[in-house]
Amino acid sequence: MIKFIIKRLVALIPVLLGVTLLVFFILDLAPGDPAKTILGEQARPEDIAALREEMGLNDPFIVRYGRYMFDLVQGDLGTSYKTRDPVGEEVWARLPNTITLALTSTVVAILLALPLGIIAAIKQNTLFDGISMFISLLGISMPVFWMGLLLILFFSVKLGWFPVAGADQGIKSLVLPSVALGFMHMAAIARTTRSSMLETIRQDYIRTVRAKGLPEHEIITDHALRNALIPTTTVIGLQIGQMLGGSVLTESVFAWPGIGRYMIQSIQGRDIPSVMGCIIVFAIGFALINLLVDLIYGFIDPRIKAQYK
């Protein structure tokens, strides 16, 4: 198992190198002179030239990339053009907020999706099945930012239950963003749970258990669910990328002080090092969560665990 984790971590290195190179290359295409951005339009040309030299902007692409990577492995994400503060500090300060939102929305998604998917499968082709699948289709089709706006409209503006934006009211502030983002993920999870549950309850061993006279709820929870959850875990893992993208939009709607919102503000301020830092942190997080999901399979499915050895 440990050998497997090490192997996977080593395999991550070339991917992360590729990702950073790609992102660095794309953002390097951005027009405009960073030195001019920092000093302002009225700056004297010789000052700009001096700053360009100091920042190493005149070096070839590969040298600048190498320098960035050298700093990155030491945990340094560069310096913001706007505030002249280290990007790393800004990102670290916001990371807990983004992680909290990601975790709570995943919990919301699972709490909504599992019952919907399981009951839809058990009561296949009934009204309940139809309704729950319709709800999950809505989840796929509603843009997360529209869902967010509607939640703000009804629960903040009309009912006044939750704050409209920000994170200064603790759990109360967290509810609406988590529901908006969670609702989006619920859809795929519910649909997969339903179809894998349908497949599982038709298996021979379930028929055997039923023939033995076990009560229905025990058949479902103790025997069917455990096997049916394997594809569900896969989908939860696959959704993580979308969730990170969705969290950028959700943070923007609810003015949630996370990395996504910081990234958007940095883009608007043309603060390239900050944008770069945010995307790198997202990409590394994405890779690590994917690894984690792979490891979780092993705990659910002994057949997969056997392959790790």
Binding site: P14, V15, L16, G18, V19, L22, V23, I26, L27, D28, L29, A30, P31, L137, L138, I140, S141, M142, P143, V144, F145, W146, L149, L150, I152, L153, V157, I240, G241, Q242, L244, G245, G246, V248, L249, S252, V253, M263, I264, I267, Q268, I272, V275, I279, F282, A283, F286, A287
Partner: protein, 297 residues
């Protein structure tokens, strides 16, 4: 003698092809939700084509009218007017053409690139496969929306850059689907036969391999149009999408944010339009998947 048998064989093939298409069509028609999806998609395409003809862009879509701002829905303005006095219904309808055309163009670009990369990868295997797929893995290691944001943030937001950004994030998905589909037919006997009579690799790929691996590609294409439209709306919502004043659903929703307290109707219709579009494309895509591959049912 040989010639005669070749002709009859050709006829048989064309007859069989027709019946296969009819078969798929019949299965699709039996699926009520898929038909609903198809009907809505056709309606949306009609709206997309007709609205630029019916409405004048300069005077009806983008012209500000400060005597008419923030009117609630009425007979004259069924969806109301926005903060600049523009009719929200006309803008919502007009935005259909923007979103659909960008969605379709992006997917065509991504599909073309994905077809070339994926079929090369799946057909040749070995080193070619490894190099192409490792590069695709790097693109897939960045969540699609973030990659698109990164590209637009760097190049600036114009419609062309938006298409590039979305296409780049969609190419790896197509390459993967095509590669998988090609690999399943690569070793079949008719491909071997084509190789035996000395057909060129490109001929085999485009003549024999791809037509037989179309099903998953068609499904992926339909679903990807939905993804791209949703993503463009998202980018526009955070100000990185379609530049103003051209109407776009996400941008319209973003504009409605400041008025949500007193003019909540403003955030209803563009959102509904996005939802209906994505919903119908998803219904159609799911229906096509079932119709093209009955084994999956």
């Amino acid at each position: 003698m040989n010639n005669v048998s070749a002709v009859t064989e050709n006829e048989q093939i064309s007859v069989k092809k027709k019946s296969q298409f009819a078969d798929v069509w019949k299965r699709l028609c039996r699926n009520k939700t898929a038909v609903l999806g198809l009907v809505i998609v056709i309606l949306l395409v009609l709206i997309g084509i007709l609205s630029p003809i019916i409405f004048d862009y300069e005077t009806q879509v983008i012209k500000t009218d400060y005597s008419n701002t923030l009117q609630p829905p009425s007979a004259a303005h069924p969806f109301g007017t926005d903060e600049m006095g523009r009719d929200i219904m006309i803008r919502t309808l007009y935005a259909t053409s923007t979103s659909l055309s960008i969605g379709v163009v992006t997917v065509i670009v991504a599909l073309a690139a994905g077809l070339v990369l994926g079929s090369a990868s799946g057909y040749f295997g070995g080193k070619v496969d490894m190099i192409i797929m490792r590069i695709m893995d790097i693109f897939l290691a960045i969540p699609g929306t973030l990659l698109a944001i990164c590209i637009v943030a760097s190049l600036g937001n114009s419609i062309t850059n938006l298409v590039i950004a979305q296409a780049v994030s969609a190419i790896p998905k197509f390459a993967r689907v095509v590669r998988g589909a090609v690999m399943t037919v690569r070793d079949s006997e008719y491909v071997e036969a084509a190789r035996a009579i000395g057909a060129k690799d490109t001929t085999i790929i485009f003549h024999d391999v791809l037509p037989n691996s179309l099903a998953p590609i068609i499904v992926q294409t339909t679903l990807e149009v939905a993804t791209v439209i949703l993503s463009i709306a998202g980018l526009s919502f955070i100000g990185l999408g379609i530049p103003a004043p051209r109407p776009e659903w996400g941008a319209m929703l973003s504009g409605s944010r400041s008025y949500i307290r007193d003019y909540s109707y403003m955030c209803m219709f563009p959102g509904l339009a996005i939802m209906i579009t994505i919903l119908s494309l998803n219904l159609l895509g799911d229906g096509l998947r079932d119709a093209l591959d009955p084994r999956l049912r």
